[in-house]
Symmetry: C2
Subunit: 138 residues, 2 copies
DNA sequence: CACCTCACACTACACATTGTAGTGCAGGTG
DNA sequence: CACCTGCACTACAATGTGTAGTGTGAGGTG
């Protein structure tokens, strides 16, 4: 599972994948497991994509350990290695940790608090509760 | 100022720049303002780098709005648009905000608390204080 | 058995980013 | 005027992604 770059100015799956990759992952998370042919058919509702293009991209995703490739009869079925939730959770966790490691916990915490003030006041209460719970656990 | 990608598995400036770019930025943040020639000379203590290579990379950084290019006599002097501190602060802030926007504040806050438990217990106290201060300000 | 089709493999090219560097031009100096 | 120095322009390699053509092999059909 190798996601190397987080694209700051994209949104959603495009932060981790190229545009075609993102559409493929989105589809596979919805449908669970598909053949290349099925993926191509689904994608083609928007705009023609060559079967070979889809195959190349999906095999690259499989090489990177993001998709699972299962031999069934003459063909292969592909499915995401992780559920969408697990994937996003893994990524957000890794990124949060990397951020705190790179810039220092207190810097990140401060930015985070700034963001909370702007965006979500109720969360500060939850955060407070979390801290209380955490203290009890020690 | 366009930094598009945050490289998850690199460290320090290499998260934002290529290796040569990173060495150049590092040097410019240390020396404040330098000509291409000076940069090349400093870098060359490790290993030969062509003047033209340094120039190309520095001009690309200037095109991206990361370096300032000042005409002085026959030649140019380059300096970082932002101080190292401002740059890192901007980046960490932007990344923190993007993370919270992308994954949801509470997800990120939870990851953050996990990280704090593993890494830095004292910071939780600071966080608590921050929340107290923040409440007073409302 | 020869053939044909289908799904996959291999290969290649385009574009962007970064590292690398050659060639050329313009302006000041001996 | 010839030359040197510093910048501009151009080009090529490697990597990641999007795109697609051609090759190959396995199975079914006449």
């Amino acid at each position: 599972m190798k996601i190397n770059k987080f694209k700051v100015h994209e949104k959603g799956l495009n932060r981790f994948f190229g545009p075609l990759e993102a559409r493929i992952m989105d589809l596979l998370w919805e449908k669970e497991e598909l053949s290349i042919k099925s993926v191509q058919t689904h994608l083609e509702t928007d705009k023609a994509v060559s079967f070979n293009t889809v195959m190349t991209v999906m095999n690259r995703l499989a090489d990177k350990g993001i998709l699972n490739k299962r031999h069934v009869g003459r063909s292969f079925l592909y499915s995401p290695m992780l559920s969408r939730e697990d994937f996003l959770n893994t990524q957000s966790k890794e990124l949060t940790y990397e951020l705190m490691d790179e810039f220092g916990s207190s810097v990140v915490v401060n930015h985070m608090l700034d963001a909370l003030q702007n965006v979500d006041e109720g969360l500060v209460a939850k955060l407070e509760q979390k801290i209380k719970d955490w203290k009890k656990d020690r």
